[in-house]
Symmetry: C2
Subunit: 225 residues, 2 copies
DNA sequence: ACAAAAGTGTTGAGAGTACACCCATGC
DNA sequence: GCATGGGTGTACTCTCAACACTTTTGT
C-alpha cells in the first residue's frame, strides 16, 4: 500500500515566542487577516514546506515574525485533535522560543494584519486551540526554568543580579528571597562578573554575563533513589 | 488560500512500548513485512486516521500490537526530518507506553511478519530513524523515573520492595542502596502494604501495592531559587 | 542627610549518602 | 544448621528556607 492511499493532514508549526519586557512576561501574537478567526489573535505559525524539517519551519516562522535567527527554540508538543481547525484536518507541531526583548521588533507577516507583544497574564481571546498551547508553553517554561539555565536566553548579554531575579519572579509568578537567590545562582557557577557596573538611582550594581561553558542542567531531586 | 494548496505530508504515530521482563528492560518491535526496510525490525506504528486524534491513533496501535487498553501513554516527540522515510514525506509523532509484562502477549499486526520483545540493551538494527527514537525514549523514561512514580506502570499490581528496586536498577542502569531505597520510597508514601507475603527461597517478602491516590510527582531541585 | 537600590551571614531543619548486620523461612 | 533473600539504623554532609541590616551612590 502506497503513501497516497492514506489520507493526509495539513501540518503546520506554531511558535510561541516569549520575551521579557517592562518587567512582564510577554508573548508575540499576530492578528489574523483571513478566515477562519479573521481579526482574532493567534500564535504565529504556518505550513511546513516539503523538504524542510519541522524545526527549520519553526526557525523560518521565527525569522519572518521577529527577524531573529539565533535563539533558543524547543519543540513543545504536537496538537492534532480532530476539529481543532474548522477548515479541516490540521495537525500542528508547537514550538517555543525565548528571545531577548531588545533584539526584536515584531513584524506582521503576509497573513497577519498586525503583530504585537501581549502579557502572558492578560491575554486576548485566541483563535483555534491556541489558549491551550500557550498555557502548556507557560507551564513548560516555568518547569525548565527551575532545573536549567534557559532564563538567560531572555536577558540581554549583561545584566545585574536584581534584573535576573526580577526575570525569575515574573516568569514563576512568585517573589524570591534576595539573599538565597544570590547565593544559589553564584554557587551554581553559571554566571561571571564582567567587571563593569550599572549606574542607577541607588548604589551601582555589578554587571554579570552568562558563562557559555556552564553546565545548564542540574540533576533533579529523585523521588526514588 | 485553501488547505489543499499546500503540500501535505503523511503522518504516522509510532509507539515505543516498554516493559520489564526477566530483570531486563524490553521494548516491543515488529519485523517489517513490506519495503522499505522489509525484514528489518521497527517500532510499531501506523498512519493516523482522519477523525481520530494522534493519541487515539497511538492507543489503537497499542491495542493492535499488544491487546492492552489501559496503560500509561505519553507523547514523546515529533520526528520530521526530510528523508527519514525513503517513500516520501512522512512525519511521525512518537509516543511511549509502559505496560506490565504479564498483561501482554505480542501479536504481529497485518503489516508485520513477527513481533517480539527486545532488550533495550541489545537491540537489532532498526528501520528508519527508529534507533534515534528509542534512544530518546530511554532517556525520557529514565528522566521521568527520577521525579515521578511512573515506574509502577511497569510492575504487576502487587510487588515486593526487592522487585521494585530491581526494576529501578535495570531501567536506570545502576545499583541502588537497599536501605536508602526502602527508606525513601516508604517516606514518599506512594505505596502501601497489602498484608500479604510472597514466599520464596528465603524469608517471605511483604507485598505492596501502589496507592492510586498518591502524588506522583516531586518538585525538582531548582537550579535557581 | 536622605532616598534608593545593592549587597551581605547565620541558623535550624530536612534530605542525601555511605555503610554492615540480624531475621525468617525452606530444605 | 545452613543457604537464601528480606529487613533494619546511625552518623555525617549538604541543601533549603527564613530572616534584617549595612553599603554605596545621586540628589
Amino acid at each position: 500500500m502506497a503513501l497516497e492511499d492514506y489520507p493526509r493532514p495539513s501540518v503546520t508549526v506554531d511558535v510561541v515566542i516569549f520575551t521579557l519586557q517592562d518587567d512582564d512576561l510577554r508573548v508575540l501574537l499576530i492578528k489574523r487577516k483571513h478566515p477562519p478567526f479573521a481579526g482574532m489573535w493567534a500564535i504565529p505559525g504556518g505550513f511546513i514546506d516539503m523538504h524542510e524539517s519541522p524545526e527549520e519551519a519553526a526557525l523560518r516562522e521565527l525569522r519572518e515574525e521577529t527577524g531573529v535567527e539565533d535563539v533558543y527554540l524547543e519543540q513543545l508538543y504536537t496538537f492534532g485533535e480532530p476539529g481543532r481547525d474548522p477548515r479541516g484536518w490540521v495537525i500542528t507541531i508547537a514550538y517555543f522560543a525565548l528571545v531577548p526583548a531588545h533584539t526584536v521588533r515584531p513584524r506582521a507577516g503576509d497573513d497577519a494584519a498586525a503583530a504585537r507583544w501581549w502579557s502572558m497574564y492578560a491575554l486576548p481571546p485566541l483563535a483555534f486551540d491556541h489558549a491551550d498551547i500557550l498555557a502548556y508553553a507557560l507551564q513548560r517554561l516555568r518547569y525548565k526554568l527551575e532545573y536549567t539555565a534557559v532564563g538567560f536566553e531572555l536577558l540581554p548579554e549583561v545584566f545585574t543580579l536584581s534584573e535576573l531575579q526580577a526575570a525569575y519572579e515574573v516568569i514563576l509568578g512568585e517573589k524570591l528571597d534576595k539573599r538565597n537567590f544570590r547565593r544559589k545562582i553564584l554557587s551554581a557557577e553559571v554566571i561571571e562578573e564582567t567587571g563593569q557596573y550599572r549606574m542607577g538611582e541607588g548604589r551601582p550594581a555589578k554587571l554579570y554575563r552568562f558563562r557559555p561553558d556552564a553546565v545548564a542542567e542540574v540533576k533533579a531531586r529523585r523521588l526514588f533513589p
